[in-house]
């Protein structure tokens, strides 16, 4: 039993560090450091750099463009990315629809869609959730009625993250109303330029339209855009939901955020002549959070080690989602507490690209509340933390 990196792994770590130091664009890094919101172009530019290096899709099978890395290499990569604040590739194409396409798609679909995802030529968004189907996803009501070589799609999808940028959307739609709800669902890929699609922004608590509602009004989708068999979509979707568990806990990012928080607290006056780090109440919270993240890190390493010897990440990894998102959210709270008065001004526009007005408050302090509000999403999305507890009860505890 040991967690030391091998010589090869250390060499790999060095390579990743050098690559990120040289290739992660300075202007994007500056934005991240100053908490400026990244725009579409930033993501695409960075993803194309990763693509050219061959590192954009570590989890894909090698034959489709994956890296063939071990679990440890993936972990090292995630750690180094977090260290410089490099954003992970946007998940919807890379981590969500691509595995479904390469696992269940036809050869033609693989050729048609995978290269553009890998190269970041096409921006995807998800079309799972509906206004009345959240955690109970299978109760979705968007319909697709077969008409010759097309499906006619009607309904509303919601929580489409960054859907305003999307070229394509992958959707779960109801193709049979007469059977058990899970058995009448199909998986469709839909071109966002198709007539009848309307995207409406939803503003979140941080003042940003990060998500959207997408309306489908008699949208014609070629049958060839269906993945796999009709009415088998739920099976494919479930695989997608459990497929990608690497880095689900966000440990590397939380570790870096803790390091920065400690420095920040050391430089923040406590109003009594010392620094916030001298405040025993704050110091204790910081220590407890560090300890929690340490426990989480080893829980994740144990999962990775199990995966690397061929065991699938079991339902046990639901704990990574629960504990990881709660840790992230708690860190948001601590950042906001450090900012104190400076967290109150609500000025989302000053964290937009290209803002050239006079900013309120000091370096990013006013962004802390925006992050706090925004990240409440983490315990809700990806199967809410209550759903994760249901999974633990059913699949691990046998309840």
């Amino acid at each position: 039993m040991n967690v030391a990196f091998t010589a090869e792994e250390l060499k790999f770590q060095q390579d990743v560090r050098e690559f990120l130091e040289n290739e992660f664009p300075r202007d994007i890094r500056a934005k991240v450091d100053n908490r400026i919101r990244l725009d579409k172009d930033d993501y695409i530019r960075w993803q194309k750099i990763l693509y050219r290096k061959g590192w954009v899709a570590p989890n894909w099978p090698v034959e489709y463009g994956g890296t063939g890395w071990t679990a440890v290499q993936k972990y090292i990569f995630a750690e180094e990315m977090a260290r410089v604040g490099a954003p992970e590739p946007v998940a919807f194409g890379m981590k969500m629809v691509a595995p479904v396409i390469y696992t269940y798609g036809s050869e033609e679909q693989k050729k048609r869609f995978l290269p553009d995802i890998l190269e970041s030529n096409v921006w995807w968004c998800q079309g799972y959730s509906e206004p009345n189907a959240g955690s109970d996803l299978a109760s979705l009501k968007t319909t697709a009625v077969r008409q010759g070589d097309h499906y006619i799609v009607n309904g509303t999808k919601t929580w489409n993250t960054l859907g305003q940028y999307a070229d394509w959307i992958f959707c779960l739609v109801r193709t049979d109303n007469t059977v058990k709800k899970q058995e009448g669902i199909s998986f469709l890929l839909i071109d966002m330029k198709t007539p009848g699609i309307k995207v409406s922004p939803i503003y979140l608590l941080d003042g940003q339209p990060e998500v959207n509602e997408i309306h489908f009004d008699n949208v014609r989708v070629p049958v060839e855009n269906r993945i796999g068999e009709e009415n088998q979509g739920w099976t494919y979707a479930k695989v997608l939901l459990t497929h990608e568990r690497t880095n689900i806990a966000g440990v590397p990012r939380s570790k870096i955020r803790l390091e920065k928080l400690r420095k920040l607290a050391a430089n923040t006056p406590d109003g009594e002549g010392g620094s916030l780090l001298d405040d025993p109440v704050f110091a204790r919270k910081l220590a407890e959070t560090e300890i929690q993240v340490l426990a989480l890190e080893y829980a994740e390493l144990r999962t990775l080690a199990a995966v690397s010897v061929g065991n699938a990440p079991g339902p046990e990894s639901s704990i990574l989602k629960v504990v990881g998102t709660e840790a992230t959210q708690y860190l948001d709270e601590l950042y906001m507490e450090v900012a104190a008065w400076h967290s109150l001004p609500f000025v989302p526009e000053q964290f937009e690209s290209g803002f050239d007005g006079e900013p309120v408050g000091s370096a990013g302090a006013a962004a802390t509340a925006l992050h706090y509000f925004n990240n409440r999403k983490q315990s809700i999305y990806g199967g809410s933390n209550e759903i994760q507890r249901n999974i633990i009860c059913k699949a691990v505890l046998g309840l």
Partner: protein, 378 residues
């Protein structure tokens, strides 16, 4: 990165599992606790024959190897069955101090006796006002001719009632709480001037309050350099912390499993209580606590076995003790709560597991103490 056990560790685990399965039912444990000594000398001999008493010791001392991970494997299984034999006091604490501080002659004299099962030890460090600070030593030893004259008062001496020898931290110079000036003496437990008040702790384990009044100790019974024992005391205590944390991990697993099983059979309002989501999610949270506790104890054990700086090891141990303490409160209390009335009776093993882990939470410093130590060492 490798979280698997070696073949030797696997065999060790198998052998402890077999033993507790055959010889350590809840009723058998009850009988042992009710006996005179509160542990089984017969089992102690069996532990020696099975080689378990060699686990904490280095290969050069003819031990199993002395890895913290080995200790973790053994203690986790002890924890599941609530083994009460004084393994930690005699081998990890007492043996650990002899191993760390003792001269070649002292090691070769005492360690074989420990591993053979013929010597019982106890470590006397805590004092009435010391709380968890190992440097807070008011008990004194003054050299007179060839003898040290010891005076003082030690509390919560685990295995104190049955120890043949006491390993006692004493102040040989400096003021109370000075890091320097602390020595360890190995004192015959039956020496004139020693008064032992024996008692039983909340978990059934035996302990003693020990008072020393002008106890004469020969100079060759000093372990290590005079006045320089604190680092070894801390290091040995840290290993004991990993041992009891691993024990707690095993006990918490038992508590979770018993609670889940009970919830599947106990019916209220015509249905198994395990079907109620109000209880299900709490059991999921217990599972999460168990997994985090297990993970952080593995971290601490691996760090003790690595070559990271001493401060990193201390931080790792404190992180584990702090986090395991929290898991103990949560899982222990929830297990009792979900068992309902039967959970608060003396009849059921759940309550006894609860008591043992609650004792572990306090042993060698509670969560608050170790959170503060973790923060201080940053």
């Amino acid at each position: 990165m490798d979280f698997s056990y070696s073949d030797e560790q696997q065999m060790l685990q198998d052998s402890v599992q077999k033993f507790v399965h055959r010889h350590y039912s809840f009723d058998m444990r009850r009988d042992i606790l009710a006996s005179d000594k509160g542990f089984s000398t017969e089992y102690w001999q069996l532990f020696a024959e099975l080689g378990w008493l060699t686990v904490p010791f280095k290969a050069e001392d003819d031990g199993f190897g002395g890895l913290a991970v080995d200790l973790m494997v053994l203690m986790e299984e002890f924890g599941k069955a609530m083994v009460v034999e004084p393994f930690v006091p005699t081998t990890v604490l007492g043996g650990g101090l002899i191993s760390e501080l003792g001269s070649a002659q002292q090691r070769s004299e005492w360690l074989p006796q420990i591993m053979a099962g013929s010597l019982q030890l106890a470590c006397a460090t805590a004092e009435p006002d010391s709380r968890y600070n190992l440097a807070s030593v008011g008990s004194s030893a003054v050299l007179q001719g060839d003898n040290w004259i010891v005076n003082g008062h030690k509390i919560l001496v685990l295995n104190g009632p049955d120890a043949d020898q006491l390993l006692v931290s004493v102040r040989t110079s400096g003021a109370v709480r000075d890091a320097d000036g602390i020595s360890v003496l190995m004192i015959d437990a039956n020496s004139p001037g020693i008064h032992r008040k024996n008692y039983t702790n909340m978990d059934g384990h035996r302990a003693a309050e020990v008072k020393f009044a002008n106890v004469g100790v020969p100079n060759d019974r000093v372990l290590g350099a005079i006045g320089k024992a604190l680092p070894a005391l801390e290091q040995v205590t840290d290993r004991a912390i990993v041992a009891v944390c691993a024990e707690a991990v095993g006990a918490l697993d038992s508590l979770l499993n018993k609670t889940v099983e009970y919830s599947k059979t106990r019916k209220q309002f015509g249905t198994a209580i395990g079907t109620f989501q109000a209880l299900q999610h709490r059991m999921a949270d217990m599972f999460i606590e168990c997994q985090l506790a297990r993970s952080i104890v593995m971290m601490a054990a691996m760090r003790l076995d690595s070559d990271v700086p001493a401060t990193d090891k201390m931080r790792a141990v404190s992180a584990a003790k702090s986090r395991v303490g929290k898991a103990i409160r949560k899982v222990g209390q929830e297990a009792v709560q979900m068992h309902g009335g039967i959970g608060i009776t003396d009849e059921l093993d759940v309550g006894h597991l609860f008591k043992r882990v609650t004792a572990i939470e306090t042993l060698f410093g509670n969560s608050d103490h170790h959170t503060a130590r973790f923060a201080r060492l940053a």
